[in-house]
């Protein structure tokens, strides 16, 4: 039942909105993971970021994709928690954890079960189309799971179409750049620096006209 609702939500709402109302130019689609376990990392501008990344993956992978999201935001209230975890399939993590609890415990389970995590290393959407400092969670996962591929993605456009604090979706084309995956085994302690560099290189391919 949930599976059908989920399929309907993505087929009737997410894919048409992302594909037709917005529209995507995707470069490097072949670098996206074809199976789990894997991690997709991207810059973060909008609530729709995770939906867009999910709609880039084939339907058959949908049930194995878990966007990692803040529990304090997405687990507020019964309906939102149900919708976030069952329909979208988020993996909620505590942004401020109590002593002793590892906030990434859910991520370990998911990777061990062969799922695909979507992680926004900036942690929050922040200013539209500006990249904030990265947080360390993804580097820790890469160190603990050195063979899991980590795909860097740069997205542009959602910060214009649906930025933080705005409820009205304005159609803009999305530009999405996917780079070759990194592996924890190939990097020393500066995984986060390398990852950020890779995403910045992807960003530098993008020609954005703006007066802001």
């Amino acid at each position: 039942m949930i599976g059908i609702l989920r399929w309907l939500f993505f087929t009737l709402l997410v894919r048409p909105v992302v594909g037709i109302v917005l529209g995507m130019n995707v470069r490097g689609r072949e670098h996206l993971p074809k199976t789990g376990p894997a991690i997709i990392t991207a810059n973060h501008n909008s609530h729709l970021d995770a939906m867009v990344l999910m709609s880039l993956l084939p339907h058959r992978l949908l049930h194995r994709v878990r966007p990692v999201a803040a529990a304090d935001y997405f687990m507020k209230g019964r309906f939102l928690s149900w919708f976030s975890t069952k329909i979208i399939g988020i993996l909620p993590i505590a942004r401020k954890s109590g002593a002793g609890d590892d906030p990434l415990a859910g991520c370990y389970e998911a990777l061990e079960a062969g799922e695909i995590l979507i992680i926004f290393p900036e942690g929050s959407r922040g200013e539209p189309e500006r990249m904030a400092p990265f947080r360390g969670g993804v580097a820790k996962l890469a160190r603990l799971y050195p063979d899991v591929p980590v795909a860097p993605v740069f997205m542009h456009g959602l910060g214009k179409a649906l930025p933080r604090g705005e409820g009205l979706l304005v159609p803009f084309m999305l530009d999405i750049y996917v780079g070759p995956s990194l592996h924890g085994r190939d990097e020393d302690d500066d995984f986060l620096v390398t990852l950020r560099e890779k995403i910045e290189v992807l960003a530098s391919q993008h020609h954005a006209a703006s007066w802001d």
């Binding site: 529209g23 304005v170 084309m173």
Partner: protein
């Protein structure tokens, strides 16, 4: 013979385009190995996109008048979205752009209502005056004139101009009893697109002198003249069948479409050059984005519409 309410002449014309595309596919399959890899890939991708556009266009035309109008409204939407995504915009104008998008359903509803008087002023008068007012309400004055100009240019080109193709469909049937509005649309769209192809082919065959080197280095004077001549001959051949135009008028219409098509093409090239992009998008393989495909139509549609409207309607 009437297929799904289309006039026999329109079915024949669609059949003709089908035959032409089939011929192009066969020719490329046969001589493809003699072309360089780049050219072959481009031509194959272009022909595939032509097939796709032909089927969508033919199905929309065959279903009903309102489906065809919705199809052109959708083309305007895709083009305006591509345009707003390419040009610089101000964050303060998000809601202004949303209002600009609303001009699309309004304009095409006016076409469906056949309310010519309002169709012809909605964007040039009302949108022109009201969108800057909405911008003033947003309160940001930095780059105000640039943003107002860019927004209105987009609406005029992608919505006002393109909606003229749709208005051809609702012109009174009695004046063009053989082919109706659909015949006029086919005449305009086919000649506009064929003019592009003819320009490309003549340019490849005979091209020596660059027509506008700083704007569009691929365009040659020989290509433009060859395309124009081809379009005039085709207009003369097709007009009696698809339109109410006399022979002299048909030749003038062919010249108008040929020239205007070239101007529309290089105008969008200048725009892309200014913005520093090569293709406007990747919607259609080998064709770039939708703007690259309708650039000529932005100019030919209103000019052909008012030419025929003045003479016959």
């Amino acid at each position: 013979m009437s297929v799904l309410g289309l006039q026999p002449v329109v079915v024949q014309a669609l059949g003709g385009i089908f035959a032409l595309l089939s011929l192009a596919s066969v020719v490329v399959a046969v001589i493809g190995s003699r072309l360089s890899d780049d050219v072959r890939q481009e031509v194959v991708a272009r022909i595939q996109s032509w097939w796709l556009m032909f089927f969508i266009f033919a199905v929309a035309m065959a279903l009903s008048r309102n489906v065809s109008l919705a199809f052109f409204a959708f083309v305007s939407f895709m083009a305006l979205k591509e345009y707003f995504s390419l040009v610089p915009t101000r964050r303060a104008d998000r809601r202004v752009l949303f209002w600009a998008y609303l001009a699309i359903p309004a304009q095409y509803v006016l076409v469906a209502m056949e309310w010519y008087g309002m169709f012809i002023i909605l964007i040039p008068v009302y949108a022109f005056l009201l969108l800057p007012m909405r911008m003033v309400l947003a309160g940001e004055t930095r780059h105000f004139l640039r943003a107002a100009g860019i927004t209105h240019w987009g609406l005029m080109a992608m919505v006002f101009s393109i909606s003229h193709v749709a208005y051809l469909l609702v012109l009174p049937e009695a004046i063009n009893p053989g082919a109706g509005g659909a015949g006029l649309v086919l005449f305009l769209v086919f000649l506009t697109q064929f003019n592009d192809v003819a320009q490309y082919c003549w340019g490849k065959l005979l091209g020596r002198n660059k027509a506008l080197p700083t704007v569009s280095p691929g365009k040659t004077t020989e290509g433009v003249i060859g395309g124009l001549a081809t379009t005039i001959v085709l207009a003369w051949l097709l007009a009696g069948w698809l339109t109410p135009l006399s022979t002299a008028e048909a030749i003038a219409a062919g010249a108008l479409i040929g020239m205007a098509g070239f101007i529309g093409d290089v105008t969008i090239s200048a725009l892309k050059r200014d913005l520093g992009v090569k293709d406007s998008g990747s919607l259609l393989p080998g064709h770039g984005g939708i703007l690259d495909r309708i650039d000529s139509l932005i100019y030919t549609a209103p000019l052909f519409f008012h030419f025929i409207h003045y003479l016959h309607y």
